[in-house]
């Protein structure tokens, strides 16, 4: 039976503590759209996306009203375009335009999958796609791109790291008039997952069903509010409180996912057990760490508290849903988290500390603004460092950094909305160029040989 306390708790979580469903993402396979004539292939892509996702937004809006829970983003992920475009043997930028038109036609917020998987080398279509990313992202609004350059099984493709260092910079330069936003729509992964519902790194893996619904939940504010009621709890009790809260958050994700899947007639894939912050007051992962007992996020103890948070979120969520996937864990995108923004501005949170944090939480160096004159080789080395953490720890890591062209430390890039704003963070100036230019493949670690 329902009781009044439970009902009011749920309403308070939604109204006051920013509980929401961060995204419903429809994964769509484009393998049946392949044609060696690029115009025919693009037409196939447009038609498939618009027919599969025709009702996605209206169904999500109805569910949001019925359950009284905001569903912030409606998104689409597609098969990595490098696979779809390989037969065309030309720049695949037309695919990005077809994706953008389709996304606008069905009314989704973003569409991901302008992607290539090059962890062990480049196959047909990969180089063409990677080289076209700056143009694709600067001439579209809703398209997001990702490139997987390493994995625990394959090691790290250092040639791809080098290229991506330059591509990230080019993406920022080609969108200077939009506050370098192109770079914010590009993620470089190690151990990319095939069912991730979160942008900018979502793509629909080739092992996935034809069409599928994945859900990403959120609720840093709920976790913080729960912890604030127990100021004297020991750290084991803190972990238990997070687990219980995470269970409740994830149950809503499961309910929304199953309901959306039934109404759209599409199989339900996974819930991504995530704590995704927004710049809104009370929706910050950094503030959870501060609630646990840090004066400011980024100080000593940040890695330990984040590890505990990340682990407890998973343990609580795992029983709450039938299948888990995606990136599952706490996100730490600097510009999208009010507490992280403050910590970065005060100098307490540095890129070195963020790197350590990425070893114990979801994903990686995310939404970090760096000086505009950063050399591409330095960006490539940041990518290689982060990929090494992912490769060795058998986890997904990623780099989404934004070179603020024409700006330096002390300046700030502001995109507004969910993407927030970020202070330019200092990087080391010493060159890693000789390492990066050696090229080749960093071999997979010993523990990849599990067979």
């Amino acid at each position: 039976m329902l009781n009044a306390y439970d009902i009011l708790e749920t309403i308070r979580m939604i109204q006051d503590e920013c509980l929401d469903i961060r995204t419903i993402t429809m994964g769509i396979s484009l393998l049946d759209c392949i044609d060696n004539n690029i115009d025919v292939a693009c037409e196939n892509v447009y038609n498939k996306i618009t027919s599969c996702a025709e009702n996605l937004v209206s169904v999500a809006n109805d569910i949001s009203k019925e359950f009284g829970i905001p569903i912030i983003n409606k998104r689409i992920s597609v098969t990595p375009i490098a696979i779809v475009s390989a037969a065309c043997k030309c720049s695949p930028v037309k695919f990005a335009h077809a994706m953008d038109r389709a996304a606008k036609a069905v009314g989704v917020d973003l569409i991901g999958g302008y992607s290539a998987l090059v962890q062990k080398g480049f196959s047909a279509g990969d180089i063409e796609l990677i080289n076209s990313i700056p143009e694709a992202l600067s001439t579209t609004e809703k398209v997001c791109s990702s490139v997987n350059i390493g994995s625990t099984k394959t090691g790290i493709n250092l040639d791809a790291c080098k290229i991506m260092g330059k591509i990230v910079k080019d993406c920022a330069e080609s969108t200077v008039d939009k506050a370098c936003f192109g770079a914010a729509k590009l993620v470089v992964f190690c151990n990319a997952v095939e069912d991730n519902p979160f942008m900018a790194g979502a793509f629909h893996g080739v092992g996935e069903p034809d069409v599928m619904i994945n859900v990403g939940v959120s609720g840093p504010g709920v976790v913080r509010a729960a912890l604030s009621k127990y100021p004297d709890a020991n750290i084991t009790e803190i972990s238990d409180i997070i687990k219980k809260t995470s269970y409740k958050i994830t149950r809503v994700g499961q309910l929304v996912g199953v309901t959306a899947s039934e109404r759209l007639g599409v199989p339900f894939g996974i819930v991504d057990l995530s704590l995704a912050p927004t710049p809104a007051v009370g929706d910050s992962v950094a503030h959870i760490l501060e609630e646990i007992g840090l004066e400011q996020c980024g100080t000593h103890g940040t890695t330990a508290t984040l590890a505990l948070l990340n682990d407890a979120v998973k343990k609580g969520g795992v029983m709450a849903c039938s299948r888990i996937g995606g990136l599952s864990g706490a996100f730490i995108p600097v510009s999208e988290d009010a507490g992280m923004i403050d910590a970065a501005k005060s100098g307490c949170l540095t890129i070195e500390k963020l790197e350590a944090m990425t070893a114990v939480c979801s994903v990686g160096l995310d939404m970090i603004v760096v000086p505009g004159d950063t050399e591409p080789d330095i960006i490539a080395a940041i990518i290689a460092d982060e990929a090494a953490i992912g490769m060795v720890n058998t986890k997904t890591t990623a780099v989404r950094i934004i070179p603020a062209i024409g700006m330096d430390v002390g300046d700030e890039l502001d995109w507004g909305g969910l993407f927030g704003c970020g202070p330019v963070m200092p990087l080391k100036k010493q060159s890693p160029s000789k390492f990066i230019n050696r090229g080749g493949q960093i071999p997979a670690p010993l523990h990849s040989l599990k067979n």
């Binding site: 009902i7 749920t10 019925e66 499961q254 309910l255 029983m319």
Partner: protein, 89 residues
């Protein structure tokens, strides 16, 4: 199918009457009502059967929110499944 309507705000005469009248207009059958007034704050939780609703659920939710605005109250209409899934294993 059942929904939970919660009404929170300053106490006034006729809140229960206005909300239940609106329910009857849309063919939502009131099953259970609990209400309390603590230091002038009125809180009412109403369980309603929506199996034979005359309008789509989303519209009911919108109309109830609008009624809340008119009465300077906060009214939420939510499917009972969200509470069941969050609070029961």
């Amino acid at each position: 199918m059942r929904a939970v309507i919660t009404v929170i705000g300053h106490d006034a005469i006729g809140i229960l009457a206005k909300v239940s009248t609106r329910c009857s207009e849309y063919n939502a059958n009131v099953i259970e009502v609990t209400q309390s007034v603590l230091q002038d704050v009125f809180a009412m939780i109403m369980l309603v059967d929506i199996s034979n609703l005359s309008i789509p659920f989303a519209e009911l939710s919108d109309n109830m929110s609008a009624l809340g605005k008119d009465l300077s109250l906060s009214i939420h209409t939510m499917h009972e499944d969200i509470f069941n899934c969050m609070h029961h294993i």
